[in-house]
Symmetry: C2
Subunit: 439 residues, 2 copies
């Protein structure tokens, strides 16, 4: 077996075997295969595609390229949730303690913000003392003891994904469905999850804004997860406007606390319960989807979910008092308002522009090396369907610096499309489609 | 401008601009663009293709990537001939002195043998003393003084082709029509030729055995040459069986001398006159193709072409006495015969197998580092259409070593397909098609 033949096979639209994919990935990880051969194969894959079977094998081989967590190590059936990335997407912060409160095992590995979308690790690190750099032993210890832990991805897990991703980024081979799916799913598989729900965002602020692309991605993720024996489903959910009302790291922690207390924004609460219900059914912790949703809603109302969040914070070194005293969270120096220029109904609210505006304030990263300001962000006062009068406040900007402030404020004002005609505008449907796996 | 955008454009079937191609090629040559980006673009090009206009620009940009010969330096309208590579293809050895004898300017850069096909440089180096490593000054001096010189490609010419070729070889991006055409034509353009004839071989022993592939290559070469302002045409010629009767370096020099004396094999003599006539017409040295062929035939008969070869040999340090005393050429230790197993008519003679057999004897190279034995080779006694009795000699093997001898002999015997039925078998047509340029 050699790379030249493997590259030629894919170039000519052939289907790679498990042996060929193993040869490629192991040679990539141990650096016996040069980058120029891997990039040629990535381009051939990007153009020629892969069958679901091939993508499933690639996912599995990538998952096995480094250290993994087995279901046994995690103490049995563990669940995971993945989002393709959104603006103001506070779901993971709510969902993790909520699922643990429902009796599920949640040993979650998560990522940082990049581009206009936020990252769970950054959000949690805005809680004073909270540690996400858990050792393997610490992580497993917490999962087995409390059924709950959340940590940053470590370098020894799925090294193939890191290597391929860096190369894809500089060779225009990012936009390949099988490569995207293998990148996402290999990390889920390596994390040991048995039940997986994917939140595939669609609309302006999503990684794939077009519904047909979001649907293809959801179908492919579910197909590959099913092929690898996981219980899996995907919800395609709205990201044309931001989710909830907060965008920014500490601001989203605040919003998560409100939601876990039962007082969160309706869309965020509903999405957490819908996503969570998928996993409760997979885990056999509910008899039906509706039953699962009811169960989760109750846990938000009765304080059990919030208790679970308190547990998560304190067991990972954080100051759990933030739950009762939000002033302990990082706070921006001042708030600046963005105001409506005209009266009317909010017809659209562009999530991408809002994410970019939050980044301008310092809430996100343009490159992996950038540092973020946990305190800054945007607090929405109105969303699609709401009525405003001219000069009403649309949103508060939480700011620490004057740089970019005017630009960010302008972006926010123009992200709101106000229709003065008096016509009604309903908020976009939260859950657009559900893609079920082969369970 | 950046490589990621350029790669993406070609990945998405876009057409690269001159500026983009210049950015790529200059960055490749000065090593500011990493190999993994170039290999991704090569793969995208291999799959997506290029327009003729793009391929012409790539050719031109590659030609300008190193030092070049201008028509002025070469003393005016100079001609060149390129073959896509064959077995026993002695045409260049005959054609170069023949064209010079016809009054044309021939400053030719040539290559070495690789794989199952021979190389002109290796053949000429079997003449004692003959030097092909001419300096730029020596080469130009000879061309201007005698209108005739033949040298090895130097490293400072078309460096882009060398770099790209090495990368294509290890990334399965060799089989790309625009990349093949740019590789061939950039060297012709850099060599300063104004009139070019391409001998595109077709059949078992050719680089592209299938006629439709040979035709596409010929059309593309002619289209790109025309776009770059060259007078150019291509002949698609038979390489299903070897050309002439000799395969091997010194053996082909002997055959070239015979042909230049007017006693060569009919197919080789005819092909040289047909290819040469194209160039005579381009150079305005003949009023018509038929007139040009007659003129060249006369130069073979009256000894002028042979005089020109004598001149070439002596001016480049070789012992021109070999023309009158062939025993001065390297000679193999012994001759071994391959014999017919049955009586009948030769229906086919596989050129590829004959080339491989000659390589087994030591006449060729498997890798660039291999050394060749100039003395060894194969001398055919019969070709397609000839009748043989069982046990008749098919060919002589000129050998210096016992290694591989039995295998080579077996390959030769099975390369001859003898039809015992008594049916007639005509030799394949020598010139299959002519592709004219836009003159």
């Amino acid at each position: 077996m050699n790379m030249v033949d493997i590259i030629r096979k894919k170039r000519d639209s052939g289907t790679l075997s498990r042996e060929e994919i193993e040869y490629w990935i192991s040679g990539t990880v141990n650096e016996t295969i040069p980058e120029y051969q891997t990039s040629a194969l990535l381009m051939a894959t990007c153009i020629r595609g892969m069958t679901d079977e091939e993508a499933a094998i690639l996912t599995d081989v990538m998952a096995h390229s480094g250290s993994m967590f087995t279901p046994q190590e995690l103490g049995g059936f563990s669940v995971d949730k993945h989002s393709t990335g959104g603006v103001g997407d506070t779901t993971t912060l709510v969902l993790i303690p909520l699922l643990a409160a429902a009796g599920l095992t949640v040993g979650k590995l998560s990522g940082r913000a990049l581009g206009h979308t936020g990252g769970t690790i950054d959000k949690l690190e805005s809680i004073p003392g909270f540690r996400t750099d858990l050792s393997r032993t610490e992580f497993l210890g917490l999962v087995r003891e409390t059924r709950l832990a959340l940590a940053d991805h470590t370098d020894d897990m799925v090294p193939a994904d890191r290597i391929l991703y860096e190369l894809r980024d500089v060779t225009s081979t990012v936009d390949s469905l099988p490569l995207i799916v293998a990148s996402i799913m290999s990390k889920k598989i390596a994390g040991g999850a048995q039940g997986i729900v994917i939140d595939v965002k669609t609309g302006a602020g999503a990684f794939l804004p077009k519904l047909e692309d979001s649907r293809k991605l959801a179908q492919s993720l579910v197909a590959i997860g099913s092929k690898l024996g996981r219980k899996i489903s995907a919800l395609i959910t709205d990201m044309s406007q931001p989710l909830g009302l907060m965008i920014g790291n500490a601001l989203e922690v605040l919003e998560a606390i409100d939601t876990l207390r039962g007082h969160g924004p309706a869309d965020l609460s509903a999405l957490c319960c819908e996503l969570g219900a998928e996993l409760l059914v997979f885990a056999g912790a509910a008899t039906s989807h509706d039953n699962a949703v009811l169960k989760l809603e109750r846990l938000l109302e009765n304080g059990k979910a919030l208790d679970s969040f308190r547990q998560l914070i304190s067991q990972q070194g954080g100051n759990a008092t933030v739950i009762d005293d939000p002033s302990l969270l990082p706070r921006a120096a001042r708030k600046v308002e963005a105001r409506a220029k005209t009266s009317g109904t909010i017809a659209r609210l562009n999530a991408l522009e809002m994410g970019r505006a939050a980044n301008l304030l310092g809430a996100g990263r343009y490159t992996k090396e950038d540092t973020i300001d946990p305190a800054v962000g945007i607090e929405l006062k109105v969303k699609v369907g709401d009525h405003v009068e001219a000069n009403d406040i649309l949103a508060w900007l939480h700011v620490n610096a004057e740089a970019n402030l005017e630009q960010a404020c302008g972006m926010i004002e123009s992200a709101y499309v106000i229709d003065p005609s008096g016509a009604q505008h309903a908020p976009p449907p939260l859950i657009v489609e559900r893609i079920a796996g082969a369970q």
